[in-house]
Amino acid sequence: MTKPLLELRQLSCERDERPLFSDLNLSCGPGEAVQILGPNGSGKTTLLRTLAGLCREYRGQILWCGEPVSRVGWDYRHNILFIGHRPGIKTALTPRENLAWYSALTDHASRDAIDTALGRAGLPGYEDIPCAQLSAGQLRRVALARLHLSRARVWILDEPFTAIDKSGVAELEALMASHTSNGGLVMLSSHQELALPGLRRVDLMDYPAKWLEPEELHNA
């Protein structure tokens, strides 16, 4: 068996000393799609930000190809793409200029590749319009266009379908399916029902937070 790409061992997260979930074990191989579920406030965003390396308050281990991410951070960062609640788009710049910057940071895509990506993300003809003039969904699409450019193996997407219309959701699902079938891994949170082949669902309610009961604390 090949090593799992991403492995979580006994992962527990907390915010401001308040535990969210505990002892999450998960091992994701290439070709998988994992949907993180849970009611509002259960810690989905916290988990995804932790995986992206943005939150560093956790207990347990995150392994990348069998190695702790802290040790292989450089390699790991080459291989992840994170899109969070805030899309990371400069509204004074055009979609093309925004993507050009991202690709200079990560994928070194050509200008043609960027235009193609924008077209495929449902924004043909909007390459040169300042992003301030786009609607909520269009703005989100600019951010998601990075998926077409990226060569990262792990996509970490926090509620990617926010503000996206129905046909957009279908396209996005197809894109994710093709990514997994190429050996990629998708981790996403969403409250919607998804129609992805081989989708695994992880409900954070199954890993309830260990409230620090007085007696436990004593032993700790």
Binding site: P30, A52, G53, L54, C55, R56, E57, W74, D75, R77, H78, N79, I80, F82, G84, H85, R86, P87, G88, I89, K90, T91, A92, L93, E97, A100, W101, Y102, A104, L105, T106, D107, H108, P130, R151, A152, R153, N182, G183, G184
Partner: protein, 236 residues
């Protein structure tokens, strides 16, 4: 498996450095108000001085070196808040942090862009304002030179404060509080260069100190900024 998905060999950091620099300058061009603003603040703040102290040349001339420096400092200070704020608000700061690039160079690019659109224009405007405050003509070169070094240093040092406060709403004035103590040595040496030049005293030593500050700041400040940014983003 997936050669399409194979990890990249890291490209020269220079490409990312240039891309970030270009993006920030482009933003300054797109929002030209932002670029002109520290300049305009400088202009107006200097204008207020005669209005409150009186228009007599004999009153103004001795104050000119100090006032020109203090106001340049305040102009830089006030422009700092925008340095990382918008990147933080729209989420591109997170992206910068998790990108496979040396944060040192990305930060350096951002600070350089900041200096090019604030410190440099302020330096170039200073002689004109010196004229308005009746600065004796011996002071002009010293003013420009000291501001050139001083504003670079202030951009670098100020970036640390900006990074620390970026996750706080209305960080602007808290930022002043954090950064001003760090600016005091720069101010003392900078104002002294101009004062001495006006009086005909040597200014070599003060300029050398300013130069040393800049060197030190270039080497260390981006590292501190990078750390501070990580903390700020973590606190979201």
């Amino acid at each position: 498996m997936p050669d399409a998905l194979a990890a990249q060999t890291p490209r020269p950091v220079f490409a990312a450095f240039l891309a970030t620099l270009r993006r920030d300058l482009l933003l300054a061009v797109r929002l030209p108000g932002d670029m002109a603003n520290p300049l305009v603040f400088y202009l107006i703040a200097i204008t207020l001085i005669p209005l409150s102290l009186g228009p007599e040349r004999e009153v103004l001339a001795p104050l000119a070196p100090g006032v020109l420096w203090v106001m340049a400092l305040l102009a830089t200070l006030l422009s700092l808040d925008g340095l990382f704020r918008s990147d933080f608000d729209d989420g591109s700061l997170e992206q910068l942090l998790i990108s496979p690039q040396l944060l040192y160079f990305s930060v350096l690019a951002k600070v350089l862009a900041h200096w090019l659109v604030t410190g440099l224009p302020v330096t170039l405007l200073a002689p004109v304002l010196g004229m308005m405050l009746a600065l004796p003509s011996e002071g002009y070169w010293a003013l420009c030179l000291s501001l050139l070094l001083g504003t670079a240093c202030m951009s670098l040092v100020g970036a640390m404060g900006a990074a620390l406060t970026v996750s706080l709403r209305r960080g602007g004035l808290l930022l002043s509080l954090i950064v001003m103590p760090l600016y005091i040595p720069i101010l003392i040496f900078g104002a002294d260069v101009v004062q001495n030049a006006v009086l005909g005293d040597p200014i070599r030593f003060q300029l050398a100190v300013l130069g040393a500050f800049v060197t030190l700041a270039v080497a260390l400040a981006p590292l501190a900024v990078a750390g501070a940014l990580r903390i700020s983003v973590d606190a979201t």
